[in-house]
């Protein structure tokens, strides 16, 4: 049953799935004899967490979405899955991977590119960024037979410079947080063009080697997250202190319908469904009812690329780095304190050590070392070290496998020290 006057609104639902390789518990006294950095704090924690999240979130969400996609041919969904999660799914939960493949096979789903290791490489190393984007895009091609054309950076970390990197790689659309600070009077209900500053010629040269298509698109479309409507679902849905609790599909769609602009960009974590908001909160029922009722009342659904096809109304410039995290929407969750800054600096300092090794050793023999280094770049490790709000015991703590940000730092540094010693040892042997 469709309403007589179709709505001019379109929902652009984008979900992001990610799991890191949590680090093994490494004591400084054991340096030199550590066998596996990525078991998780106790043996097999990564596998156990993956099984838990799969059961609570990925499997029921995918089951629901496949059902809805099949029932509603006009339904569109966009998603991205980090390389570190895809790897772990291949190893531990192939049936979950199959359920993602089933989603994509409907032809109603767009997959977005991102950094394979859910890293901050865009900020610290252009070449590393290119490598990780390519590695992720290749894995998506292999597992889903899909060619990506849109990009989302880790944690929606974005600024004009990153937009230029993404544009030079040949992507057509990029996502960012719809943060008022740089939107000013504009709002996230429209498509925008990214401001594309000039890059250095050396950087351009690097980017050229990883370009996904030729020529470089003349513009990069920018889709901005509607943070209020997104966070109503992702953060506030089960909060009984929230004035709008409980949230019904009707109420939610009334907000959608009165939103200025025609695009409603709902960007959120995949784990919102069943993990951040538990099943008994009614989140799955809400999602189902919201999609059915939206369809009934003529609200459209668009993938990121479909949405981006409409003309851009304006160019938005974001000079400073932004993200979708915390009230600050900046990078302070990852590099806000000195421990994080030191850990990041030392992690990326290994890049030059490895590239020196490439000169004396065939690159294939170094893939193990590169693999470890890249897993260490996963942003989660630095997020766990955040002391922001730590004393308040908020969201940062919920996601951390550590008792405190200090423990996170100590353990990371022990792993990094062990790995650095390993790299130095191999370098010394090959001089």
């Amino acid at each position: 049953m469709h309403s007589s006057s179709p709505s001019d609104k379109a929902i652009c639902l984008y979900l992001h799935a990610h799991q890191p390789y949590r680090l093994s518990k490494v004591n400084y006294l054991d340096l030199g004899s550590v066998r596996d950095y990525f078991q998780g704090p106790t043996n097999d924690t990564n596998q156990v967490i993956l099984e838990k999240v799969s059961k609570k979130s990925y499997l029921p969400t995918n089951k629901l979405l496949v059902k809805l996609l099949k029932k509603l041919p006009e339904l569109r969904i966009s998603l991205s899955i980090s390389g570190t999660l895809l790897e772990q799914l291949q190893t531990y939960e192939p049936k979950v991977l199959a359920s993602f493949q089933e989603l994509v096979a409907t032809g109603q789903v767009e997959i977005l590119s991102e950094t394979y290791y859910h890293s901050l490489a865009a900020i610290y190393s252009v070449e590393e960024f290119c490598i990780q984007v390519e590695q992720h895009r290749n894995l998506i091609k292999k597992l889903f037979d899909y060619d990506t054309t849109s990009f989302r950076n880790t944690e929606l970390i974005y600024n004009d410079r990153i937009a230029s990197l993404v544009n030079q790689l040949g992507f057509q659309t990029v996502l960012a947080e719809g943060w008022d600070k740089y939107l000013t009077w504009r709002n996230s209900g429209f498509v925008y063009k990214a401001q594309l500053p000039e890059l250095e010629s050396k950087e351009l040269q690097t980017l050229k080697g990883y370009r996904i298509q030729k020529p470089v698109p003349s513009e990069l479309k920018l889709l901005l997250k509607h943070y209020k409507l997104s966070d109503d679902i992702a953060f506030r849905f089960s909060n009984q202190d929230w004035a709008e609790y409980p949230l019904s599909a009707e109420k939610y769609l009334s907000w959608v319908n009165t939103n200025p602009g025609n695009l409603i960009n709902l960007f959120m974590d995949y784990e919102t469904f069943g993990e951040h908001q538990w099943a008994d909160s009614g989140i799955f029922k809400f999602l189902e009812a919201m999609i059915f009722q939206a369809s009934d009342t003529g609200i459209q659904f668009k993938t990121i690329s479909e949405a981006a096809r409409q003309g851009a109304t304006d160019t938005v410039s974001v000079p400073e780095l932004t993200s979708w995290a915390d009230a600050e929407r900046d990078l302070s969750a990852w590099n806000g304190n000195k421990m994080q800054q030191a850990a990041l600096r030392l992690t990326y300092a290994i890049e030059s050590k490895l590239s020196k090794l490439v000169n004396v050793k065939p690159e294939t023999k170094l893939s193990g070392l590169y693999n470890i280094w890249r897993k260490l770049q996963t942003s989660d490790h630095f997020y766990y070290m955040s002391t922001k709000y730590w004393a308040d015991g908020d969201v940062h703590k919920y996601f951390s496998p550590y008792d405190s940000p200090y423990e996170a730092f100590i353990n990371f540094m022990n792993v990094l020290e062990d790995f650095t010693q390993q790299v130095d040892y191999i370098a010394a042997k090959n001089v």
Partner: protein, 444 residues
Amino acid sequence: MQSSTERYKVLMLGWEFAPIIAGGLGVVCKGLTGALVKRKADITYVLPRIPDDVQLQIDGISFTSANVEEDSLRFLGVDSRLSSPYLSADTFNLATDLADKPNTNPARQTNIAAPQDKGRATRSTSNKKIYGEDLLSEVDSYAQKVIESVTNIEDYDIIHNHDWMTAPAAVRAKELTGKPMVMHVHATEIERTVGHPNPAIFAKELAGMEAADTIIAVSELTKQRIVDNYGIEASKILVVHNAVERLESNFGPIAKSLYKDDQIVLFLARLTAMKGANYLLEAANKVLKHLPKTKFLFVGAGELLEDLIERSVDLNISHKVTFTGFLPHDQVDRAYRAASVFVMPSIAEPFGITPLEAIKNGTPVIISKQSGVSEVLKNVLKVDFWDVDELANKLIAVLKYGVLAEELSNNSKLDLENISWDIQGKKVIEIYSQLKHNQNLRFN
């Protein structure tokens, strides 16, 4: 009716009051008393002996037993041979010998058990009879003396005693006056003896707990122990964590020339089993293998000194380990500041005030998870006391990574903002109010 200007007349029975001090108790009692007096309490603070040469002060204002009635705080010295409630019955005889020297601070004497004092144990055993055969009978005779010494005892609203040694006196006072009794438990015999309580002390402690209308425990940990080991119902026990006085120390950063560029790891506690110095010594051995320039400073005296020295020789790290014996207060602050990290590896610690003092002095802190203070500190490192490898791991991290030490130093000061005697004093006043007006105890 309860009015906002109402004040509570409190008979407080304590053992220490800084600077008459054997351990942390004296510091805690001074902090608490100061906060209570500033709020709504008129306190008569009873101590076993107030040496003539000691000035008791709060915020620089002296109080003596001579300034009477009109003051909100009066001290009453009841002559007794008792010194530290931390003493075991077995070591009491030694302590009474040491305390026998006239005109000296008895508490400080008990702390100077460093090697140079060892000879004293053989002196003046003849005086024992004058002061009571043993600790336990002295405690009983002290209770009688308190009742005889306090004038107008029936005028008090509340009887508030600290730990087991004053419990018999508090129970007597309650029996005599029918006034409500608060027993403030800073440490249980179970904890002091690491699970091997003296049955007679345990019995006196238990009698106090049972007689008390309300028990104040210094941590959830201690509350749980009182429930588990003494069978007291949890609803009667309220937790009031200790705090630390906000005053900044007056000492500037100390010159580290003594140790050149070496880094110092500081331990500061009595050298008894409960305090876990041996675990730090084992960890020191492991740390030194990776960071050989580290020095370990053990401040404090106690029965384990010889064992610890011998062990450091066995480990071949005695040149890296210094035992200073007891240090006076001003030097303690200097030690905190000289240290790169402070460690409290206690096996059992009802609260543990020293980490707060270290934090106040800007020193990063590692504490055992088996401490009450762990309940109120977030920006510190925590280890299980037995996990020597993990202690070594964390020590290495703090010594090696300046950024970690800096974050800990800065952020742990934020923890202190939530821990003030003013806030804790308010909680105790609330308890007084409810007891005086016979209300049901409701307290968070």
